[in-house]
């Protein structure tokens, strides 16, 4: 594990967007702000690509560590790391991010707060790039939170809409529930090993003695400490990556402007949870925690695929699709290791960013309509349709597209020793092909059903980035496999590809498309007409439409419990406050008595007469009984001091 100061240039990768963010906030002109941020992202791409190139040649991770603070000789260190995991991520984030920035410059053209928007986007990029480069569990968490805040700000960017404001809050709070798990994992790892760095010349958390300590220490439920920490980290990942049961924020997050959905809620931030598991995989190794990851991922993938099939909002379908695909990535890491999961993460980033940006173009072309029942006839937008279909086939994992290669690998890895997971993933793939096809059938063919005018093509500044992404959505997978993507990530044992895996992969993707076409062909749909699937599935379809009632169930349980707790605390506090009033009342009564009988009769005329003029003045500032109380208090303090003196002198002598 080499440590080297020569890596300090890595700092520029998150720093350049941050500088752009600051300038964009100070900048009065929205155009200038957007240009600054685009330039910042383009500039960050240079060191990012250098990092990517270097990362392929490394035998071991390279790190650059420095001290954040020192307490009692104990230093809390931060660091940046260069290895295939971080190298590939910075390249992808800057590249996809740059394209999305370009797109957003046009998409947000008419928004008065464009400067703010780009500042937030850049802040997000800073957080994301810092997150993937972190060589410290703590630093990773810190950037993780920055990413969360940027996401909050961007989701609720159009905050004059109450729904957007609510969605931002929901996203922040739901992910924060996961973050608590993450935080406790950090605390536990820190107290057991005293280390927070991942790699540090054999003393890091993920290497040597520290890892052995954690694997030897017992946690609870029969797990080792490493296993418990891994599970807690996974709780954080569940929140961020929208896995069951904390996925509820992601569909609502679609309230944000579409470039945000593409950047944050498809390509990068939501993948941070997957990345976290990949980064800390040595803690999961050989522990039942890995089974939890696999099964949560598979269950999420299945659930979200069903839910996607029941949605009518163009972006919500994609949101559930994202949840589903993230589940598959989790499965990939759990069953096949870092390489398999990360490969799917990258190919997903390209095609899902493409689909979201394409959706933005469609929404733009249809006059800000998002309901697919009111679309149809969008095929008139020829360029957008073309690139959108590229993304769609990749998501369906049609053979030889990027999605096919990466998903095939997950299936193959799962087939080997987890048949249950394998068949679940196969069903997910079938459903994926179905919901994508259903969406395309609603949107593209036929007559336009919207109330506005006919769909019109978006300007070239918006479509150009789409073509670049489309090329990657189609060809990235092939080239990546060809160039040895699995060897690049390392730690990968080529899974056999029995014939049945290949057959299933082909069958589910093409079969799903065909099945969906069969269901919808010749039937009326769209507008007010009930979905053809609801005729077949009946009540089950209602459940899918309503996203399996998760929001309603949470509202009736967790949220209610939370509010009841707050209410109970408030009632108890009010009861305590009655004691306060009692004390105040008693004091007033006593002060009244003293004021009239004690002070006047006893003190004024007897002990302190004439010596308390100054105190009287202060009493006159407020002549109510309370004020009287104060002045008498001061007198009693004085009296007390005399008594104290007497005692003290007596005690001494």
């Amino acid at each position: 594990m080499e440590g080297s100061d020569s890596l300090s240039w890595l700092v520029w990768i998150p720093l350049l967007p941050l500088i752009a963010c600051v300038f964009a906030l100070l900048c009065r002109s929205g155009v200038a702000a957007s240009l600054i941020c685009i330039a910042g992202m383009a500039a960050a791409m240079v060191p990012a690509l250098r990092a990517f190139n270097l990362s392929g040649e490394l035998d071991a991770p390279m790190t650059f560590n420095f001290t954040w603070m020192t307490i009692a000789g104990k230093s809390i260190d931060f660091g940046f790391i260069l290895d295939p995991l971080s190298g590939s991520m910075v390249a992808m984030v800057t590249f996809v991010g740059f394209l999305i920035f370009l797109y957003a410059a046009k998409y947000m053209e008419d928004d008065l707060r464009r400067g703010r928007f780009f500042a937030y986007l850049s802040l997000f990029a800073t957080g994301m790039l810092g997150l993937v480069l972190s060589n410290s569990l703590l630093l990773l968490f810190m950037f993780w939170e920055i990413v969360g805040v940027a996401s909050y700000l961007l989701i609720s960017f159009w905050f004059h809409k109450p729904s957007a404001a609510a969605a931002g809050k929901k996203a922040f709070i739901t992910t924060r529930i996961g973050d608590l798990g993450f935080l406790i994992a950090i605390l536990w790892a820190f107290q057991s090993t005293g280390a927070l760095l991942f790699y540090s010349n054999g003393e890091g958390l993920l290497e040597g003695a520290a890892l052995e300590t954690l694997q030897a220490e017992s946690g609870f439920w029969g797990l080792t400490a490493a296993g418990v920490i891994a599970l807690l980290l996974f709780v954080g990942a569940i929140g961020k990556s929208g896995q069951l049961p904390l996925h509820v924020w992601l569909p609502d997050a679609m309230e944000g402007p579409t470039p945000v959905s593409a950047l944050i809620h498809a390509a990068t931030m939501v993948a941070a949870g997957v990345f976290l598991v990949a980064r800390t995989l040595p803690l999961f190794d050989g522990s039942p925690a890995l089974d939890v990851v696999a099964w949560v991922g598979a269950a999420t993938a299945l659930f979200a695929a069903f839910a996607a099939l029941g949605q009518y909002d163009l972006k919500r379908i994609l949101a559930f699709s994202t949840v589903s695909q993230l589940g598959l990535m989790m499965v990939g890491i759990a069953v096949g290791g870092v390489a398999v999961g990360m490969f799917h993460l990258h190919s997903h980033a390209f095609f899902k960013a493409l689909l979201f940006l394409g959706a933005g173009s469609i929404i733009h072309g249809c006059g800000d309509e998002q309901d697919i029942r009111k679309m149809g006839g969008v095929a008139r937008m020829k360029l957008t349709t073309l690139v959108y279909l590229c993304g769609a086939v990749s998501l369906c994992a049609v053979p030889y597209t990027s999605g096919f290669f990466s998903k095939d690998e997950i299936l193959a890895a799962a087939y080997h020793d987890r048949p249950g997971i394998f068949w679940t993933c196969a069903v997910v793939s079938l459903l994926t092909a179905m919901y994508v096809t259903r969406q395309c059938l609603y949107v593209f063919p036929g007559k336009h059903r919207g109330s506005g005018g006919e769909p019109h093509e978006s300007p070239v500044q918006m479509t150009a980035p789409l073509f670049v992404l489309a090329a990657f959505a189609l060809a990235f997978g092939y080239f990546a496999v060809d160039r040895g993507v699995f060897e690049y990530f390392g730690g990968y044992h080529a899974a056999e590809h029995p014939l049945i895996v290949v057959e299933v992969a082909w069958a589910v993707s093409l079969g799903g498309i065909a099945l969906c076409c069969l269901i919808y062909a010749g039937k009326p749909y769209g507008g007010e007409i009930a979905d053809p699937l609801s005729g077949i599935l009946g009540k089950a379809y209602r459940v899918m439409e309503n996203k399996f009632y998760f929001d309603e169930i949470y509202a009736a349980t967790v949220c209610l419990l939370w509010q009841i707790t707050a209410l109970v605390v408030a009632i108890l506090d009010a009861i305590l406050a009655m004691f306060r009033e009692l004390i105040v009342f008693a004091a007033q009564a006593i002060s009244y008595i003293f004021h009239h009988f004690g002070d006047r009769a006893l003190i004024d005329n007897w002990v302190f007469d004439g010596t308390c003029d100054s105190l009287k003045e202060s009493g006159e500032l407020a002549t109510s009984p309370q004020g009287g109380f104060l002045s008498s208090y001061l007198r009693w303090v004085a009296l007390g001091a005399v008594i104290f003196g007497a005692f003290a002198i007596g005690g001494c002598s």
């Binding site: 603070m69 109450p162 605390l187 202060s618």
Partner: protein
């Protein structure tokens, strides 16, 4: 030097009393000038402060030797930071009430007396005059709330504030009289030495638990911790803006500071013996404050309960430093917890003062602090909204801002020693996020309301008041080491006392 810093505002207060009431410009200038002088003095102390040393800038003179009373002031690592916090917030509090004309004379004089009492309470090392400052800080606060406070309920708020804290002090006074009668000393360092050698518990014998209880009740009220927090929300809510800045920024730290200055050195055995109930009450306070804040609609009350919650984290850190057994790979845990508490005092002081200030601005502009009546302010006041968001996120522990560094230290030190309690306290972080984001949602987002459309954004002087605070919010968050270095040596000593 310390004496100069301490009494400079008092001199100004006297001068103000001799200034005609109509000359409010001269009055506020005097107040600002004196507080700036104190700030300069504090910065000079800071510059020459030796972080590795113990008590410095010692001034000691016999006062009433027979009673063990000395004029004895000095700073060490812990007092350095709170002193700096006070010196920093004092001029900002004057600036925050810059436009006050009515009753300016009494107002500024009281404010200056308040500053002197606070400086004194943070530097005194002899119980006698420490206690005078400690009590004296109450009086101006009482009158400032009562005379210049919000609505009609300010009288009750002022009274219950005064009653609770004064009653607490009576207990503490009794405790110290007993200590004096048994030992003959009132100097804190001397008593600390006695405690360390085991003499103090031995001398006190069977009354030790009672003395411990009496002193702790006095501090308990001041911090405050559950269930003696009842005076706090209404006092904070009713106080005028500058006073709530000082109350929440500095006075709420007096209790925590006194724990570090008095309880830990004098009663480490007591803290160890009663560790579990103490921690439990700190935990209850953390959660109590957070959950109560959820249901408030008055912005100042939300912030008051939020203060209750945040200051309780300090206490959690201090108590945790005495808990459990040291983990083999992390023997520094108690120091981290104490350092976290120290930094939290500083970080929360800056953040909460800023938040109260901005709420004051909002109240001036909109005429209400009720979050149900506000709403949609984001459009009309983008800069004010931005600052409020920033301070709010600092308050809910966003990394790279002040609150996170402090809370992380408390949690990391505390978890190593008392994992169960600290894990529960983490729920407080969630509740904080919920109520603070609800405030943001109801106040600043939503459809713009016509009645707010013409309201001005931050003015130049308002920005000038906020910039120093924001600077510290970032500085503490990005490089907490710069500040922790001052208190590192002292915290190690304190942590060792508790083990």
């Amino acid at each position: 030097m310390i004496t100069l810093v301490t009494f400079c505002p008092l001199v100004a207060a006297l001068l103000i009393l001799f200034t005609p009431a109509s000359n409010y410009r001269g009055i506020r200038f005097l107040a600002l000038f004196s507080s700036l002088l104190s700030l300069v003095g504090t910065l000079l102390i800071l510059q020459r402060f030796d972080a590795s040393g113990g008590l410095q800038f010692v001034e000691k003179a016999a006062w009433i030797p027979r009673l063990g009373v000395h004029y004895y002031v000095a700073v060490d690592g812990i007092s350095m930071l709170v002193l700096l916090l006070t010196a920093l917030l004092a001029p900002l509090a004057v600036l925050a009430s810059w436009n006050r004309q009515q009753g300016a004379k009494a107002y500024y004089a009281l404010l200056c007396i308040q500053f002197t009492s606070l400086f004194g309470a943070f530097t005194a090392l002899n119980f006698f005059h420490w206690f005078i400052f400690w009590e004296a800080a109450l009086v101006p606060a009482f009158f400032l709330i009562k005379l210049f406070g919000g609505d009609e309920s300010r009288h009750r708020a002022a009274l219950s504030f005064f009653l609770f804290t004064a009653l607490g002090s009576v207990f503490m006074l009794l405790g110290f009289i007993t200590i004096f009668l048994h030992t003959g000393f009132l100097d804190f360092p001397v008593l600390a030495d006695l405690a360390q050698t085991g003499m103090l518990p031995a001398e006190l014998g069977s009354v030790y638990p009672w003395v411990f209880l009496a002193v702790i009740i006095g501090l308990w009220v001041k911090v405050p911790l559950f269930p003696l927090h009842l005076w706090q929300p209404s006092a904070y809510a009713q106080a005028p803006t500058a006073v709530s800045m000082i109350l929440t920024g500095v006075m709420s730290k007096m209790g925590v500071y006194a724990f570090l200055r008095i309880m830990v050195p004098l009663f480490p055995q007591g803290i160890q013996a009663y560790n579990e109930p103490l921690m439990a009450l700190a935990l209850v306070t953390v959660l109590w404050g957070a959950f109560l804040a959820l249901r408030q609609t008055d912005l100042k009350k939300v912030l008051a309960y939020s203060s209750l919650n945040h200051v309780a984290y300090c206490m959690l850190g201090i108590f945790a430093a005495a808990a459990g057994t040291l983990p083999a790979n992390f023997v520094e845990a108690p120091v981290l917890a104490i350092q976290g508490a120290t930094l939290q005092m500083f970080a929360h002081g800056v953040t909460a003062a800023g938040l109260f200030y901005v709420v004051g601005l909002l109240e001036n502009r909109c005429g209400t602090r009720d979050i149900n009546e506000l709403g949609g302010l984001g459009r009309a006041m983008p800069r004010l909204t931005g600052v409020f968001f920033l301070l709010t996120f600092c308050s809910l522990g966003l990394p790279f801002l002040a609150g996170f560094a402090a809370e992380f230290l408390i949690f990391s030190g505390g978890f190593a020693l008392a994992p169960g309690i600290v894990s529960c306290a983490v729920i407080g972080l969630l509740a904080t996020a919920v109520f603070l984001l609800t405030v943001l949602q109801k106040t600043f987002t939503g459809p713009e309301k016509a009645k707010w459309a013409q309201l001005p954004d931050l003015t130049g002087s308002e920005t000038a008041t906020l910039v120093p605070l924001l600077l510290f919010v970032f500085w503490i968050g990005l490089a907490p080491g710069d500040w922790l270095a001052f208190s590192d040596a002292t915290s190690q000593i304190l942590a060792n006392l508790l083990r």
